[in-house]
């Protein structure tokens, strides 16, 4: 394989078939942000069990009879994503430590904004019960109202905020 990206419609079609197969076999869609949640929950419960016991955020996982937070569907799925993307990068010759940023932005600032963006994105995903994959894409596939509301809120805000963030990308 070469370093060219796949045709977007073909990629979308394959992604759609994968999502359909996932729904057909397991009854649920794809996701990502849930894995972040479970990793943090596992970390806090292990390092500060008393702190976790006082916060209702952790209540589903605190206690002896509860499933360990890392033994979750999305955690295994995201591990797969990491591996699958690595495989794709390997085959398409794209494995390289780089920082990608807009033409007028220093890498340090790119790192700062990436961290800030990640912080907001994944915190927002906890509030909305899902991110672009879990809430928007999978939600749209099963025609849930939440899926469409979340999708419009994410992309609508993205367009409105794009003007203010143009120095980052253009």
């Amino acid at each position: 394989m070469n370093t060219k990206y796949m045709n977007p419609y073909l990629a979308g079609f394959l992604l759609g078939l994968l999502l359909l197969a996932t729904i057909f076999i397991t009854g649920r869609g794809l996701g990502a942000s849930g894995a972040f949640k479970n990793v943090i929950i596992a970390g806090v419960i292990t390092t500060a069990p008393n702190h976790a016991a006082q916060n209702p955020f952790y209540q589903d996982y605190v206690g002896k009879d509860k499933e360990p937070p890392l033994k979750a569907w999305l955690v295994f799925e995201v591990l797969g994503v990491l591996f699958g993307a690595f495989l794709s990068g390997l085959l398409s010759n794209r494995l390289k430590w780089t920082t990608e940023s807009g033409p007028h932005l220093k890498p340090q600032w790119r790192w700062f904004f990436a961290a800030l963006g990640g912080m907001l994105f994944i915190a927002g995903a906890q509030m909305a019960r899902g991110c672009t994959s879990g809430a928007a894409l999978s939600g749209m596939a099963v025609l849930s109202t939440a899926g469409f509301v979340t999708m419009m809120a994410i992309f609508g805000t993205g367009y409105m905020a794009a003007f203010f963030a143009r120095r980052l990308w253009k």
């Binding site: 977007p8 994968l18 009854g27 794809l30 994503v81 990436a114 999978s138």
Partner: protein, 401 residues
């Protein structure tokens, strides 16, 4: 009939599946170029609409598949996970995510992909995401009431908009196709030199577009599975080719009084009506028990003589036909509605004075009905005290982020 979790696929195997599905997910996202933040951000500046193309094509493909598989009866759409709506948290969370997207250049899934091929900025995004989740957990107690407000449950978007499912599917596909055309034009204007070339030959792309549009048109006319089955079994040809034997009232009474172990009554009336008056040895079923994947084990038991009671004879006949079409054997609609049956045997609970027995009947039938009446009354009273059988509850699949 899908989905195969939780009945056919065990929990450990499901986790292995999750890993395998994740590999395919990551592979496709990376191949599509979602490991590049500049490419992802391009959708907001008009220089690269890859995200929109991949995202919309995937959503339309998966949605069409879910609708078609549900329509043909391969997928139990009521058993799959529909992510519930918390309206205001979804909007506020979405707005925060939108800001995070434009600043960070990734979404959670794509940041994992980019990290996998060595993007340092993605590493920062992921670490930031961990910190963000922790901070969210810390402030969670104070925003908990908001986060759990406006809970609308697992609602469908077409119901929220008040339009039929097929019409919504048509609109979504039409909007997606128009967006593809429009954004290609914008891209050429904003980024004339580097607009991503489409490697599909134009002819295939046009063919795919036409096929998708035809599918959308078909969705417009496609009835849902229940309507489809009802229409099919109500056609004159179908009725002529598939005659249904009715259950005579006296035979039913005899089998009830005889405590025939092979008799099973299915009552399709509402919960209220069923609570008010029901025949002994009957279970209340709903359309879910007929159309859903787990169904009811009693329906599948071919040795049982299954008597169908519904609001009226017409509905009972339709349900019986659908049951038989779906493979059930030995199904008989009761020849009258349940109230006529109750009158014939003087079973009405709130009867002020006993109605007159029909003296036009031959003496043997009359005597049988009088005797059956007593026994049936007793049996109904017994059933009341011990409580009726409840159909098995359907296991819901957990999901979401």
């Amino acid at each position: 009939m899908g989905p195969f979790v939780p009945e056919l696929i065990s929990e450990p195997f499901n986790l292995i599946l999750a890993f395998l599905i994740g590999i395919a997910f990551g592979f496709i996202l990376e191949q599509a170029g979602f490991s590049s933040s500049r490419r992802l951000a391009g959708v907001f500046y008009g220089y690269d609409f890859t995200v929109l193309r991949v995202f919309f094509t995937a959503a339309v493909t998966a949605m069409s598949g879910v609708l078609l598989l549900g329509h043909w009866g391969y997928l139990d759409v009521d058993a799959i996970f529909i992510n519930p709506t918390w309206l205001y948290p979804a909007i506020v969370g979405g707005v925060i995510m939108g800001i995070g997207f434009i600043l960070g250049g990734y979404c959670p899934g794509t940041s994992i992909c980019a990290l996998a091929i060595g993007k340092v900025d993605a590493l920062f995004f992921v670490i930031g995401g961990m910190v963000g989740t922790f901070l969210y957990a810390e402030i969670y107690p104070s925003i908990q009431s908001f986060v759990n407000s406006s809970a609308l449950g697992p609602i469908y978007v077409f119901d929220s908009l008040g339009i039929p499912q097929g019409v919504f599917a048509f609109i979504l596909i039409a909007v997606a196709l128009m967006a593809f055309i429009l954004t290609s034009k914008i891209e050429k204007k904003v980024n004339p030199d580097n607009a991503p070339s489409l490697s599909f030959p134009t002819f295939s792309l046009r063919l795919a577009t036409a096929a998708t549009f035809l599918l959308a048109l078909w969705f417009l006319w496609m009835p849902d599975r229940k309507q489809y089955l009802e229409q099919m079994v109500s056609k004159t040809d179908y009725i002529l080719q598939n005659p249904v034997a009715l259950m005579p009232v006296d035979e039913l009474a005899f089998r009830l009084v005889d405590r025939d172990p092979r008799l099973q009554i299915f009552d399709f009336r509402s919960e209220d009506e069923f609570q008010q008056f029901a025949l002994p040895n009957s279970v209340r079923l709903t359309e879910r028990d007929v159309l859903g994947k787990s169904g009811n084990e009693l329906i599948r038991n071919e040795f049982l003589k299954k008597v169908v009671i519904a609001k009226d004879l017409k509905q009972a006949e339709t349900i019986a036909r659908i049951l038989m079409h779906l493979g059930a054997k030995n199904v008989y609609p009761l020849e009258t509605d349940i109230h006529t049956f109750a009158q014939l045997f003087h079973l009405q609970p709130n009867e002020v004075k006993p109605a007159q027995w029909d003296t036009g009947l031959d003496p043997i039938t009359l005597q049988f009905r009088k005797m059956a009446s007593e026994t049936l009354k007793q049996m109904i009273a017994e059933e009341k005290t011990k409580g009726q059988k409840k159909p098995r509850a359907v296991k819901k699949i957990k999901g979401g982020c």
